[in-house]
């Protein structure tokens, strides 16, 4: 198996590491990589996690070319794919047949393995839960090299430990997913302007199961909480105008690719302010409903490939936290205020509501346990994701935000993280010790390690 040297980082391009990378395309080749060395190994998908979760200064197993369908049941919408298959490849195939992913993150350029390992959430988390709820089972390769089938019945402890386990329990090889039926490729999108954090939170609480998708963009160049809220639902066939076909052949436009030219960030105080002002001005004053193809609703950022290059060589950090519903609505305002006071202007802020996480659904799985052994991020509450260009002074500020989040009983998303300390991490993820027990039960040695796991002293 060819091993090549690459400078690897996460999507935020912070702290690149010299890594030895291989690209296996069959389970047998993955096993050969594991057997061929004693060095630490970490799996990588399409590298869309922002931080150092899919980065290692030892061996990185890049699974993005291990992308194959294994079986498909079009009656029940059950698909079995290899872990390196991207969400885009699945959607391109299943949508014309009337199926959709029940949960999707904000990009379709990520792999199924990455979505399981980070237990990703979508704009419908408050209704549908996270990605893992639709995983029937997966096959995992642990340090021994054999494939273990994991689901709610078989190796269930390992199943949970791998959900949100950030690749540290082993390499996910095959995944069987449940899809959800749709009637068209379209989303009926409703937009409304919001004027404050209070209004935003209120708007989210008008529960409308008919509109399962809801997400807000907030202008975080001020702490007021102005912004825009998008609701969405899959459009039914009978709602389409006569001449519009439910599954037209049309495709999304070929995306543009940002060239790797910029030394300095194009995203700075001036452009951020301009962008946010324009975006707000562009939002409809009254609620407005339109019908758009699914990619326009779910994946606006995918129109520009490699957009992370806009942040120049120093890169950027996304800070995403979740805090319980009980938290005072002024919490988010205080967070933004503190950022602005410290001269750190978020370039993008996205706010969402989260429903129960898998930990909180424990009673439906097993009564005998206190905690499920999982590091999955989502839990009931409000989640805010803030993007910051990487500049001096950002890291101390984020450490202060950590303290506020911990006090509120919240936590930070590992798939976005490059800078948490081992201590703060432990306060946010009390499940760590039982998670570790499961990880050790199936791995006789600590084979799976990433820059993230070393930094957080997880293993």
């Amino acid at each position: 198996m060819k091993i090549v040297h690459q400078l690897l980082s996460g999507w935020g391009r912070v702290n690149p590491r010299d890594s030895r990378v291989c690209y296996p395309t069959t389970p047998f080749e993955i096993e050969k990589v594991l057997g061929g060395t004693n060095e630490p190994i970490i799996a990588r998908g399409l590298g869309r996690s922002y931080g150092d979760a899919a980065v290692s200064d030892a061996i990185t197993v890049n699974l993005s070319t291990f992308n194959f369908f294994q079986s498909w049941n079009p009656q029940h919408g059950i698909i079995r794919v290899s872990a390196g298959t991207s969400l885009k490849q699945i959607l391109d195939f299943v949508v014309p047949q009337g199926w959709f992913l029940p949960v999707t993150p904000g990009t379709q350029y990520c792999t199924v393995g990455g979505c399981v390992a980070a237990d990703v959430h979508g704009k419908n988390h408050h209704i549908q839960g996270s990605f893992s709820k639709f995983v029937h089972s997966f096959d995992l390769m642990c340090s021994g090299g054999s494939l273990l089938t994991c689901n709610l019945q078989t190796n269930s402890d390992l199943f949970f430990a791998t959900l949100g386990g950030m690749g540290l329990t082993g390499v996910i090889v095959w995944v069987e997913l449940q899809l959800t039926p749709v009637q068209t490729i379209y989303i009926t999108e409703r937009k409304r302007r919001i004027q404050s954090w209070e209004e935003c939170i209120e708007a989210f609480q008008e529960d409308n199961p008919n509109e399962p998708y809801a997400v807000a963009w907030v202008d975080a160049t001020t702490s007021i909480g102005k912004g825009e809220l998008w609701y969405g639902r899959h459009t039914n066939e009978d709602e389409l105008p006569k001449l519009v076909k439910p599954y037209p052949k049309k495709k999304s436009k070929e995306p543009w690719t940002v060239p790797n030219l910029f030394q300095n960030s194009l995203v700075n105080r001036r452009t951020i302010t301009l962008f946010n002002r324009l975006k707000y001005l562009n939002s409809p004053k009254r609620s407005q409903t339109t019908v758009v193809p699914y990619w326009e609703f779910f994946y606006p950022l995918d129109r520009l490939l490699e957009w992370n290059r806009l942040y120049g060589k120093s890169g950027f950090i996304q800070y995403q936290y979740v805090v319980p519903f009980e938290t005072n609505p002024t919490f988010h305002r205080q967070i933004v205020e503190l950022c602005l006071q410290n001269g750190q202007i978020p370039s993008l802020a996205v706010f969402k509501r989260m429903g129960k996480g898998i930990q909180e659904e424990l009673p439906t799985y097993d009564h005998s346990l206190k905690y499920l052994p999982t590091l999955s991020f989502p839990k009931q509450g409000w989640t805010l994701a803030l993007d910051f260009p990487m500049t001096n002074g950002l890291l101390p500020l984020l450490s202060r935000l950590d303290q506020m989040v911990i006090e509120a009983g919240g936590r930070v998303y590992l798939a976005k993280d490059v800078r948490l300390s081992p201590e703060t991490f432990r306060k946010m993820y009390p499940e760590l010790s039982i998670w570790k027990n499961v990880c050790r039960k199936y791995n006789d040695e600590i084979r799976f390690q990433s820059s993230l796991s070393k930094r957080l002293q997880i293993c």
């Binding site: 060819k2 090549v4 040297h5 990378v21 690209y23 395309t25 069959t26 047998f28 080749e29 070319t65 194959f68 369908f69 294994q70 079986s71 498909w72 290899s82 195939f93």
Partner: protein
């Protein structure tokens, strides 16, 4: 008439994989020849899901063993009684100074000798063969030798010249010969290179190949602008060429 039966040689190449998945490529039957049998069977399963209507026939073969040429030619001739086409994707880029003699020989076999001997066998009698189209993925590296990859480039130049002659010979029989010359393509072949300017995706190249087959083009560059870059490169006086570094 559009050919509906295709043989893909080097079927596990990333460009071949992209062609197989391209939705406008709708053959009735596919023979997939490659070395890695585990990967091949995974691809056959994948095809059963994606394009259940396609009949697939996997063949495991190591193309550096040129003594297998006759065997493959006879398998092909026995299998296909309807018009068919061959797309040759296989290639080796083993081009650093430390490459052993064995490796260089294998590279010559896979990139040049095997396809040449195979086509010689198949077109012994052009009026009788059912093979109506052949496509070979060459490379812009064959257009002018560069210090970085001239051993590889030489094999690609050889196949280019061979195909040009074969095209002329087969023209009167209505047999189509297409030479494909890609620039950098983001595939496993070039993962080890740090600088790959203007690299195209395998999907884009696969699409260009399929369009060129339908239009019965003879030589294509992909992406298209490579034609002009190579036009300039080929015409640079040797004196100047010596001095450029890339």
């Amino acid at each position: 008439m559009l050919i509906k039966q295709w043989i893909l040689i080097g079927a596990t190449s990333d460009i071949a994989k992209a062609l197989i998945q391209y939705n406008e490529f709708e053959p009735h039957a596919l023979m997939l020849c490659a070395k890695n049998s585990a990967l091949l069977s995974q691809m056959v399963d994948d095809l059963k899901v994606r394009k259940p209507q396609v009949q697939t026939n996997p063949i495991t073969i190591d193309l550096s063993q040129i003594e297998k040429v006759n065997w493959l030619a006879s398998v092909i001739q026995k299998t296909f009684t309807e018009p068919y086409g061959i797309i040759y994707f296989a290639g080796i880029l083993d081009d650093d100074e430390t490459a052993s003699k064995e490796k260089i020989i294998a590279m010559n076999h896979v990139n040049f000798l095997f396809p040449m001997l195979l086509f010689e066998e198949i077109f012994k009698n052009p009026s009788e063969t059912k093979c109506q189209s052949i496509v070979v993925v060459g490379s812009v590296a064959g257009d002018r030798g560069r210090a970085k990859n001239y051993r590889y480039g030489a094999t690609k130049a050889a196949i280019d010249t061979y195909l040009s002659g074969l095209r002329q010979r087969l023209f009167n029989f209505g047999i189509h010969v297409l030479t494909v010359k890609p620039g950098f393509v983001k595939t496993k072949m070039i993962q080890h290179l740090t600088k790959t300017p203007l690299a195209a995706t395998p999907e884009r190249v696969a699409k260009d190949i399929w369009k060129a087959i339908q239009k019965r083009k003879m030589v294509i560059y992909t992406p298209w602008f490579m034609r002009w870059i190579l036009f300039i490169l080929r015409h640079l006086p040797e004196k100047w060429f010596l001095k450029i570094k890339f």
